[in-house]
């Protein structure tokens, strides 16, 4: 037996998709869907939670706001933008996903993502693991000391912090200094061998930004600004983001 027909609201109302359309350059092309399915056919998240990019967009276009803003699927789409690349109309489905994430009440969002965002707010380090600038310096210095004493040719290997006028400002995913400090070392040596003029910063050194994933606009902007200001304060020409 066929499913019961879906009844759409008779009253015209501003839908979730209307709101998103008004936020995006060229309205994100959200009204241009040809329903071809090129997005879904190459999307790794197709099928999860019974959802796929085309279905998500079509549901939004039909004004099924409650379904669109409550499906956990929005946390399973990584917003990788392959769907946009495949789409003949370049429809910005990932932004629709991002805005749907934003619409979730804070307490219902996946706790791990929210906590990683909160942790980054603790210190100017912006680390999602809650690591401070002191933690970072300590981990780097301890690891550097080991390299100097154990490895051939690196007795005088230098790693600097907050060195003004360095050409490159390098950042690091928190998991490296905090969980796998030895993984930072090959990078130092490659930079050294290349003769690169680089520095770490004590502010904004953590490369990740979970507030963006959490759909928390205010805080993810704050993180990006903290990082950009740290680079500018040192007058570095390039910001090397290892994420």
């Amino acid at each position: 037996m066929a499913d019961a027909a879906l009844k759409l609201g008779a009253e015209p109302k501003e839908t979730f998709m209307d709101k998103v359309r008004n936020l995006l350059p060229e309205e994100g092309h959200l009204n241009l869907c040809l329903t071809c399915g090129a997005c879904s056919s190459g999307c790794p998240a197709t099928g999860l939670e019974g959802m796929d990019p085309r279905k998500f967009l079509r549901m939004a276009a039909l004004g099924m706001d409650e379904e669109v803003t409550s499906t956990p699927w929005v946390w399973m789409c990584t917003m990788c933008t392959r769907c946009v690349h495949a789409c003949p109309m370049q429809i910005n489905i990932p932004q629709l996903v991002f805005q749907a994430r934003k619409s979730w009440p804070e307490e219902k969002k996946p706790r791990g993502i929210v906590q990683s965002c909160k942790a980054a707010m603790i210190d100017k380090a912006t680390s999602s693991m809650g690591a401070t600038s002191e933690d970072f310096v300590e981990s780097v210095e301890e690891t550097l000391e080991q390299v100097r004493s154990q490895q051939r040719g690196y007795k005088d290997l230098q790693v600097t912090f907050d060195r003004k006028g360095a050409k490159y400002f390098l950042n690091q995913n928190s998991r490296e200094p905090m969980a796998e400090p030895d993984e930072m070392v090959p990078l130092w040596k490659i930079m050294h061998e290349a003769g690169a003029d680089w520095t770490y910063g004590t502010a904004g050194w953590a490369a990740e930004n979970y507030c963006m994933f959490a759909g928390n606009d205010e805080e993810w902007e704050k993180i990006v600004r903290t990082k950009a200001e740290a680079v500018d304060a040192l007058g570095c020409e390039y910001w090397l983001n290892t994420e």
Binding site: P72, R82, A86, P110, Q151, E183, E193
Partner: protein
Amino acid sequence: MVRKTFGESVADDMRYVLKACVGEENFVDTWPNKSNNFCCGGGGGFLQSGFKSARQEYGKLKHDQIMETGAKYVITPCHNCHSQVHDLSHHFEGGYECVHLWTVMALSMGILGPDERVYLDASLSECGINECTLPPDE
């Protein structure tokens, strides 16, 4: 990085570096690749979202792509990809290792230290290790 920011040229740059490290004949590309490649599923906060089985199911496409290459090592550009691909190999028993690009670069330059080889398997973990290590008393 390829689709959202720098385009195909950065994908070519990375392939240039990797081939210079491992040799043209040892590089196997995935298919599809570059702008058409699939996301591994480590990004977007997925690793911290708590949806573990969904994340692994998402990554099956990447896993199948990797298995198709027959390659022993997968080089990943960022820490999230690294964690996800490492987990995919373990979960689906793919038997491949996952390393950062900097590990391969340092290995090929003969400067990869003894503690920096966690993700190399037995056939490479000793490669050039004596040349870059000081004797304990030196």
